[in-house]
């Protein structure tokens, strides 16, 4: 049995659904943020696996060149940068929220309710 792109994509689907289910089910803000990180990591795995199985770029005279662009890697790099920023801001919001409500339950975040 040889590992194919489909195996990586299936694993990524399962990991994303675990993250999405955790985001929907848990009421702890910290665990919601961790579930978001799980989903982002699953998408990163998709990008990198698809980049690895990208078809060869053929030049004008029909010969296959070895240069495969790293577009999936670049996307993953930027997703990681955005995830780091999101974690920093999200955890700062958790701290401010805890200072207001003395809890980290998502139900307690109803300050915008009229």
């Amino acid at each position: 049995m040889i590992i194919h792109l489909g195996h990586y994509l299936a694993l990524s689907c399962v990991l994303f659904s675990i993250g999405a289910a955790g985001f929907l089910f848990r009421r702890n803000v910290l665990i919601s943020l961790m579930s978001i990180e799980l989903m982002m990591n699953a998408v990163n795995l998709t990008f990198i696996a698809a980049n690895r199985w990208q078809p060869l770029v053929t030049s004008a005279d029909g010969t296959a060149t070895a240069a495969i662009p790293h577009h999936g890697h670049l996307f993953t790099f930027f997703v990681i940068a955005v995830a780091a920023a999101e974690a920093a801001v999200g955890l700062a919001i958790v701290l401010a929220f805890y200072r207001l409500r003395k809890t980290v339950r998502t139900d307690a975040a109803d300050m915008l309710r009229g």
């Binding site: 999405a20 961790m34 980049n51 993953t76 980290v104």
Partner: protein, 185 residues
Amino acid sequence: MPPASIQQLAAFSFFAALAVVSALATVMMRNPIRNAVGLFVHVLSLAGLYVSLSAHFLTAVQLIVYVGAVVVLFVFVIMLLGPASEAPSDTAGRLPRGIGAAAMIAAGVFLARVVIDLRPERVANPPGFGTIETVGRELFGPAMIPFEMASVLLTAAIVGAFAVARSHHGKVSMSTGEPSDGSSR
């Protein structure tokens, strides 16, 4: 079967199983520190999968940014909150939440069964694929402007995190909860 594909299969099976188990631990454990440890193991196992896809630069980035920064930040916040980080469980609204979570799992498993048969032809590993040099050349070539925008985003995120996380209006000291003058900030 050539030995290389056996190694590949073993590495993929090990890291995939570890990733799924640690992802489940991340969302299901009660104690938030255990969730953070689950996230830690998950990130490490994904780094192993990146190695198997010959994405060496991103393996390093994953280890530095996720293990070194994000998980540590989570652990810091959990320790700062102390026992309050473990929200008390309640059963209200458990059924709709459970239905939503089960629907997500079902959709994920269905989609996984669809895509697992994708078998495009894998090209030979070109020299220098995924190394710091080749990815860096693209990062500072075609992707130069997004790269600089990412640095602006990170700066804005740092300033925003400071602005949000410091004491409310800067008037209440966090450790004592009493009003303090501006000098202690």
